[in-house]
Symmetry: C2
Subunit: 266 residues, 2 copies
DNA sequence: TCAAAACCTGTCACTTCTGACAGTAGAAAT
DNA sequence: ATTTCTACTGTCAGAAGTGACAGGTTTTGA
């Protein structure tokens, strides 16, 4: 599914580097890499992006971890977006463009630096719907790069920096070659922290009670009367359960709870 | 939890029976018992109740199977109601009166014929809320009787026939002594048929797909786009899944599917 | 004694689900 | 040839859930 790929690949000879990057660029990159190594929380991670903007002026950025499942379908496991329009995200996610987006496919195929514009999208016979969605939000011109290596698990990453002002540029290529592996490390670190958190997350007694009533098909209101609390409180518990398990809604929470053995089946 | 109780207990001597029941009553009872033995569907079961009304004129009737769980909580597993006001049921279920209703408690304690009226409810210190709910719908005066025996599983039954016109009456006592064990058999039969149906229910390929997307927290609309069908169709599949598994909503469907091994946890 | 965690409560806009109505089309089995 | 099953589609009212706002008390452990 994935190419086996070494951690850092740079084909730039020192002389070439000097040709692509200024001394200032190099210093900014080193600064960036240093911060990456101390990235543990989502805040730390998000703080990296203004730094990147100093090197590559983008409007919005997406970053995510994903892997292919048994049915050859890309499963998104963790993501972080910067400045990305909510409407764009909703449309993209709801229409499941992830499975059809050529930017994504190419990234998870090659993990190489890619510059995208209208002509290249056309060349790859991308869906009209997706192209117009990209166009609508001015995110056609973009640089995409991702990474994957065994040490950070089965998930590959993809990073997309978009702006109408982004043109193909050897300097940008070089910058991304340095930026992305470290960003990948930081994101993977973040994800494994999050997973640890989800697995460690202790469901409280009250939450267990709520979970068991949910299992039996009770609504919030039913449970509120059963437990003798307000409906709002039941929702509060359910929300906590969802957050702790990393679920977006009740059905998923039940599935995850079942997997974790948090609910029993009489 | 349950008294061990023999199938049919009748303490009536032939002479006493003659004192309580008319020949016509006896014939109607025999007719009733004959139908009970051929009761396989819910329609068959519901058809029994007009027959009972010939013997005991009630306004509405409830019948259900339940058992106590590890936390000493009564778990309702199957029920059928006749002429029962929807509002009453909703209120009763939502406020979980099942756990506090003295009629129910007494039934599952003794499995004896019981006649209830306002004075007796007061005597047992029943909740005011429940009493007024009973009063509101004119179901205070009632006969309650239930049964349980090993052959029909761990579930006990309760049957309640209510009407303001129902007064304590030796004939009614005698009738219920005959009616209830057979009604219990019929209801148990019905339930085990239903269970068989739920367990046999084969989830189709499409339903399995839907289930797996639900597991991942997708909404109907998300899934509709993913599968390339209308949202209505997704709901159609979800409804079928719920019916097949005997779930009232999606969370419960997921829990039941997990128990049945219909969904896998990667 | 201070902080953290658990538990509790309210409102409000918005989205999603449920249950009921009423159909169509195609494939497989009797 | 008819029935049965699967899959599909529509509308619509009302119920339920979500996410974000902004608080409260009590318990527990450092």
């Amino acid at each position: 599914m994935f190419d086996s790929r070494e951690v850092i690949v740079t084909s730039y000879e020192p002389s070439e580097l000097r040709f692509c990057l200024s001394g200032n660029d190099a210093l900014t990159l080193l600064e960036f890499i240093r911060i990456c190594l101390n990235c543990n929380t989502k805040e730390d991670y998000l703080a990296l992006f203004p730094k990147i903007r100093e090197l590559l002026p983008y409007n919005c950025a997406n970053s995510f971890l994903a892997h292919y499942d048994a049915d050859n379908r890309l499963v998104l496991v963790y993501n972080a977006n910067i400045n990305t329009p909510k409407e764009w995200l909703q449309e993209y996610q709801a229409k499941n463009y992830l499975q059809r987006d050529v930017k994504v496919r190419e990234n998870f195929r090659s993990y190489k630096v890619q510059h995208w514009d209208f002509d290249r999208l056309k060349l790859y016979k991308q869906d009209e719907g997706l192209i117009s969605l990209y166009a609508e939000f001015g995110v056609i011109e973009s640089y995409v790069h991702g990474s994957r290596f065994a040490a950070t698990g089965k998930n590959g990453s993809m990073f997309c920096f978009a702006s109408p002002s982004i043109k193909f540029d050897k300097r940008a290529d070089a910058i991304l070659e340095f930026v992305i592996p470290h960003l990948h490390l930081a994101l993977s670190q973040l994800y494994s922290n999050k997973q640890l958190e989800w697995n460690k997350a202790v469901i409280t007694q009250r939450e267990k009670e709520v979970l068991n009533w949910l299992k039996q098909g009770k609504s919030s209101w039913d449970i509120s009367v059963i437990l003798g609390v307000s409906e709002r409180t039941v929702n509060y518990h359910v929300n906590n359960i969802r957050k702790k398990l990393g679920a977006t809604n009740r059905p998923q929470a039940l599935a995850l709870a079942a997997r974790r053995g948090l609910i029993e089946f009489s």
